[in-house]
Symmetry: C2
Subunit: 159 residues, 2 copies
DNA sequence: TTCGCTGCAAAGCTTTTGCAGTGGT
DNA sequence: ACCACTGCAAAAGCTTTGCAGCGAA
């Protein structure tokens, strides 16, 4: 709820209009941990079928510009989005078989990153750090060669 | 050259046919550090215009299955491919303004990764670690807001 | 000779865009 | 009352696929 109100204010401060469509897209985005653009379209249209696919994409782009939403490519299926606003920084560990995503924090890695960029004279702006593996459950039911994209799922229902 | 011969053998061992198209795609892929599928298509067809776009995509998919080629998404333009076969493992540092890509190694990060997955009972299969920032040159010519995709470039000419 | 691979063109998916009408401020 | 935003449908990437013919083994 706090995040919702905060982002609404961000939109207003941006000087763009706070429309019903944008509010709805924001509310539905906040209801998921990780989601694809298409999942968000479906979710939004389940609530209000009159909202156009294009409006969802445009609202998502706006949220991305505002720094509220991050885009992830887990290389298994379509890109994923995540509302990172108001959440502590974290990276991701994903099961390549069932699609489970775990968010982790590791300050020691962050420190090493700073060291690495310094080595090349770079100014660090952002980073992505993704670990892929098998979750405990999938290690047991392990198929020798499941080369293909597992479903990317979504769980949390409120924000 | 050693890599070329090695991969040819990989293809034969796979029990699939070693066609002229596959050999050409492999040679041109080896000639670049990082490339998009479309860049590879252009490059291949510059050498032999009779090769179909679809054949390049199919050959690239084969090389990916063989573990010879890796796919990267730098979030600036189309996904990038890289022939990693025969190269030491490394991760990437990219300038978001000019598109320069630096490959770095940091064993200490690798060690922390092993520790992280153990924490969650995962079995680590692979990872991606990408740092985004401004290279020394672009820090000087810095535009306040260059939100858009820089050209992804390609340099090396032989392999 | 066989059947896996290719070229071609068409289709598929996801995302973007042009435009006329609508609604926030 | 403006003009930014929306819905719609068409277009625009990028990648995959069906199919008939070709050519590596």
């Amino acid at each position: 709820m706090k995040r919702y109100i905060f982002v609404r204010q961000l939109i207003r401060d941006r000087g763009v209009r706070l429309t019903a469509q944008r509010e709805l897209v924001l509310r539905r985005a906040l209801a998921h941990l990780h989601f694809t653009a298409e999942q968000l379209v479906e979710d939004v249209r389940r609530v209000d079928p009159s909202v156009a696919r294009a409006s969802v994409y445009r609202a998502l782009a706006l949220l991305h510009e505002l720094g509220v939403v991050e885009k992830h490519d887990f290389h298994y299926g379509a890109p994923n989005y995540e509302v990172t606003e108001g959440k502590a920084h974290h990276d991701h560990l994903m099961c390549t078989q069932c699609g489970e995503i775990i968010e982790f924090q590791e300050p020691r890695v962050e420190r090493l990153q700073a060291e690495i960029v310094k080595r090349y004279g770079y100014q660090l702006l952002s980073h992505t750090h993704k670990l892929y593996g098998l979750c405990p459950a999938c290690q047991r039911t392990q198929k020798p060669h499941s080369a293909k994209p597992p479903a990317l799922h979504v769980t949390e229902m409120v924000s």
